[in-house]
Amino acid sequence: MPSLNTFGAVFTFAIELETRLSAYYSYIGDAAMARAADKRRKKLERVRRENVVEITLEPITGLDADDYALDLNDRSAAGQAGAARIASQFYRDAAPKINVRAAQRALERSGREHGG
């Protein structure tokens, strides 16, 4: 999924990102962070479901999945910080591309929760 060029592509990428982060945090034994990622995933699934508005569906440009590749093999403190930084950057970049305010807000908040 290189180009995140639709509403669904952006949200599906975010949902998959949180799914992977939850597994990552579980593996390194940080249950609180894993739970937080799960909560965000569920929220993003709900937002994708409830805010896809036919009359405002427009092409999205300038967002590429390759720019937000996570290295989840690095389980060091630096690796964890790096993952959070990339996730935060993704949400910061994605939010302004979405033209439905409730959906935009969910992305902004997810970004803040990752420390952005």
């Binding site: 994708r48 036919e54 009359i55 405002t56």
Partner: protein, 483 residues
């Protein structure tokens, strides 16, 4: 392995007595998904008998109980949201976002039906004469049917079914034989709801079952969404048989773009309006009218953005436009593009002979942009129902309105402008049932009636909103005196 879709009658899945079937294909892969029976008049008679038998008990079921079914139904659809969306993509060919949008709009209609306990209330007046009071009550009217199209196989049935049954009627749905699978799943969910037998019924098929519904004396009213020629036949047949009817037809939707509009932002929205669902919707933008200087800017910006649209399989989230419904549709659309070219229009972006790697059996027409379209030519007058946007030039605002009002259709029209005066004049003078201001797809939400004028609608009461409460109820006046 494909299966033959069953009918749902009297609370059970039953096989049609039909000997003929329609093949249901995934229009992107060509894969055979199912066979749809061409149900017979006897199949319809059985369904109507069931719906009629269920009516008396259902109408006396408290309205709050009827509304509770809708609460449970909504939860089911939400829980199965992604699955339903994927079914819609596979049988129709649209994108996942478009399918999700369709399911969302369907849920809106279920939400609306939950308001029936409020909306069915009526009014009264004491002492219209000495000691005499007068009230109106709304009562359900009987057995209703809907004949629904391929292009929104999940949403359009929900424009009708939830409100009809929550008002206390019983219901028969006949979906398009091209896309019976979303409604099959819809009825699997309704089956889980455990409604009384006969309240909702599904009859799959084509013309014979539609005709049988329209001619059956125990069917009170019929809702239809489809093309204008068929809508007219539906209207005439139903009225000849003494039925209520709301028949929503086709469209040729114009978008006026004023020189003061933000062209880049407008084009982004027009793209969704013109090429969403591959143009197969009655609210699709068909003609963009560039006013004065806006024409050249519009043409340049559209040419750039149309060519960049990603066409592909709808289950790929990055696809921005999917297939059309069938190879027959491809041939019809390509023929119309050729005719337009022959009339002197310029095909700026040509979607003919379009192919998508890996989907060689798909029914593809690429996004097409046609410029220099003149009045009274095929692209100015005929519904394409495909991913084709035409461009016309108007001298000024009045000329644009004149072009739009010449259309025999009146489903929707939009204006892109930053000028309130033009917006106001447009709303006031354009003869279309749904008006957009800086919105390309003027789709009414479920609590508003779905407008439509001229050859885009045959009937009096539209689908959705308070019109649907009127359509699905009978008003009774009670005048009483107690001495």
């Amino acid at each position: 392995m494909s299966h033959t879709v069953k009918n749902y009658v009297d609370g059970e899945w039953v096989e049609s007595g039909a000997s003929d079937v329609f093949a249901v294909h995934d229009p992107a892969t060509g894969e055979l998904l199912a066979n749809c029976p061409d149900s017979t008049r006897e199949d319809v008679n059985t369904a109507v008998r069931s719906a009629r038998a269920a009516f008396d008990e259902w109408r006396s079921t408290p309205v709050l109980v009827r509304a509770q079914y809708m609460h449970h139904f909504k939860v089911m659809v939400e829980d199965n949201f992604e699955k339903v969306s994927q079914i819609v993509v596979r049988e129709h060919g649209k994108t996942m976002d478009e399918a999700r949008g369709e399911v969302r709009r369907g849920i809106e209609s279920i939400d609306f039906a939950m308001s029936v306990p409020v909306l069915m209330r009526s009014d009264g007046l004491e002492d219209i004469s000495s000691g005499i009071d007068e009230t109106t009550v709304r009562q359900p009217a009987g057995v209703f049917a809907a004949i629904t199209p391929f292009n929104f196989p999940f949403m359009v049935p929900l424009w009708f079914l939830p409100t009809a049954i929550t008002c206390g009627n019983t219901f028969i749905l006949k979906p398009s034989p091209q896309t019976p699978l979303a409604t099959e799943y819809l009825f699997e969910m309704l089956d889980e709801l455990d409604l009384p037998e006969g309240v909702v019924n599904l009859v799959n098929g084509g013309v014979p079952s539609a005709t049988a519904l329209m001619e059956h004396p125990d069917v009170t009213g019929v809702s239809f969404v489809g093309s204008s020629p068929v809508a007219k036949i539906i209207y005439e047949t139903c009225t000849r048989n003494g039925k209520r009817v709301q028949a929503q037809g086709g469209a040729k939707n114009y978008i006026a773009v004023m020189p003061d509009a933000d062209i880049e932002a407008s084009v982004k929205n027009i793209l969704g309006a013109a090429y969403g669902c591959a143009g197969q919707r009655c609210l699709a933008a068909a003609v963009a009218v560039g006013v004065g200087d806006a024409y050249d800017q519009l043409k340049d910006e559209l040419a750039k953005q149309v060519a960049a649209l990603k066409v592909g399989y709808g289950l790929d989230e990055t696809t921005q436009m999917g297939t059309v419904i069938s190879d027959a549709a491809v041939n019809r659309i390509e023929s119309m593009i050729g005719q337009s070219e022959g009339e002197g229009a310029e095909v700026v972006v040509d979607g003919r002979d379009f192919h998508v790697d890996g989907y060689e059996n798909g029914s593809w027409v690429g996004p097409t942009l046609i410029a220099d379209v003149q009045r009274n030519t095929v692209m100015a007058t005929e519904e394409v129902f495909g991913p084709v946007l035409s461009l016309m030039q108007a001298d000024d605002f009045e000329d644009a309105v004149d072009i739009i009002n010449q259309s025999r259709y009146g489903n929707a029209a939009s204006i892109f402008t930053s000028n309130g005066k033009y917006a106001r004049e447009f709303k006031y003078s354009v003869n279309a049932g749904n008006i957009g201001v800086n919105i390309g797809v003027a789709a009414p939400s479920a609590s508003f009636p779905f407008g439509g004028q001229k050859d885009s609608f045959f009937g009096d009461l539209h689908g959705q909103g308070m019109d649907s409460i009127e359509f699905y109820t009978e008003r009774k006046i009670v005048i009483e005196r107690w001495v």
